[in-house]
Amino acid sequence: MRRVSSPVIEARAVRRDFGDEPVLHGVSLALDEGQTLVVFGPNGAGKSTLLRMLATLLRPTAGRLTVFGADLPRQAFKARGRIGYLGHEPLLYRDLTLAEALRFHADLHQLAGADGRIDELLEAAGLERRRDQLVRTLSAGQLQRAAICRCVLHHPDLLLLDEPGSHLDPAGLKAIDPLIGPTRKTARVIVTHDVEGGLAAADRVLVLDAQGGVAYQGPAAGIGLEEARSAYAGTSR
C-alpha cells in the first residue's frame, strides 16, 4: 500500500507577471516523491519561469506554491539545498577548473565526501579527463554534462530540469541518463520539446499554451501522443 505523504510540489492557481504582462497563469498541480512531471509548451509559454519559481529563484505574483511543504517565497530557505536545478545557464564559474567549480558548489551545500562525489560524477558523465580544465574551455555538450553533475552533486530530492538533453550527442544522452533518471525518492520536473520522449518518462503532464495558460494538466495516461502534440502546438483542450 502506498505511503501517504504530503506532495513534494503543490501549486494552486499560481501566476507570474513580468511588469503588467502575465507570462504564466492558472497553474495548479501536485507532484509526489518519485514522480516525474513533464512540461510541454511553445516558446514563451512560461515553462522556464515555472521552473525558476519552483527553484525558489522567482516569486509567484499570485497563488500558492509550496515545495517540500515550504511556502514560497516566504519559507524558501527550507526548500533550498533539496533542489537540483538545471536551467539555461550551467551556473559554473568559467575561470575555475571543472573540479574547482564543482567543489565550490559542494562547499556551498556543505557536502560531506565532496572529492569522492565529484570524481564519481565526472566519471559517470565521461568528464574525468576534463576535471582540471577551465570551465570556459569546455564545449557546449561537455558544459551541459558538467551542469548536470552540478545539479545532482548534493543528492537533491527534487530535480528541476530545463531541456536536460540540449547540446548532447547520443553518447552524452546515454551518459547523463543514470544521473537524472527516475528514482523511488526523487521527484522530477522536466521541461522538454521532445513530446514522445517526455510522455514516455512522465507520470504527470502539464501542457502550457502560448499565452501561459494551462492546456492540459493531469496524468500522463490521460493524454495521447497526438493530443499532446496538438495541445503543445497551441490547440487548447
Partner: protein, 222 residues
Amino acid sequence: MSAFRTILFKDLRVELRTLQSLPAMALFAVTTFVIFRFGLDRTDLEGSLAAGVLLVTILFAALLAINRLFVAERDEGGFDAIRLAPIDPAQLFLAKVVALFIYLLALEVIALPVFAVFFGTEAAALPSVLAVLALVNLGLAATGVLVSTIGANSRARDLLTPLVLLPLIVPLMIAAAGAADPLLAAGGPSLSDAGKWMASLALYDLVFLLVGYAVYEFLLED
C-alpha cells in the same frame, strides 16, 4: 568550509588567475599620480591637497573594482547558484566586502610608495596613512558591495553604480580627508588631530556593515 570562506577563496582564486581588477586599479592609480604630478607642477604636496589627491585616486581606482565585483555572479549564474544553496545570503555580502577590502589594500601597498616618491611624503607618515586608508577601504567595500549588488541586474549598471555610490560615500571621504590631512601635514604627521576623524570613519564603516548584513537577503531576492 563555510560559505563565507568558499565565496571569498573563489573570488581571490579567480582574481589571481585572471588579474582582471588589480592591475587595472594599480595602473589607473599610478597614471593619475603622474597626471597630478605634472598637472599641478609640484614635486611635493602636503596637508589637505595631498590627502585630496591620494583619496580621489584611491576612490576612482576602487570604482573599477566595484564595477567588476559581480560580473561573474551576473554573467555566469553565481547569484542563482548562491541562492539555490542553503546558506545565509549575508555570507555573500561579507565575502565580497572582504574580497574588495583585500583588493584595495593590495592597491594601496603598490600606490602609496609611488605617491610618496612622486609627492615627497615623509616615510614616517605612511603607516598611519595606511591605517586611515584601511578604514576607508572598509567603508568603500561595504557601500560598494551594496550598490554593486543593486546595480548588477540593471542594464544601466555602469552608470548606476557610480551615481548611487558617490553621494553615499561623501561622508566617508570628508572624514578620510579630515584624518589624512594632519598625517600628511608639512613638518611631520600629527596623530592627535586625526583621532576624531578616524572614529568617524570607524562609525561609518560599522553602520554600513550592519545595514548591509541586515538588508542583503532582500537585495538578492527577485
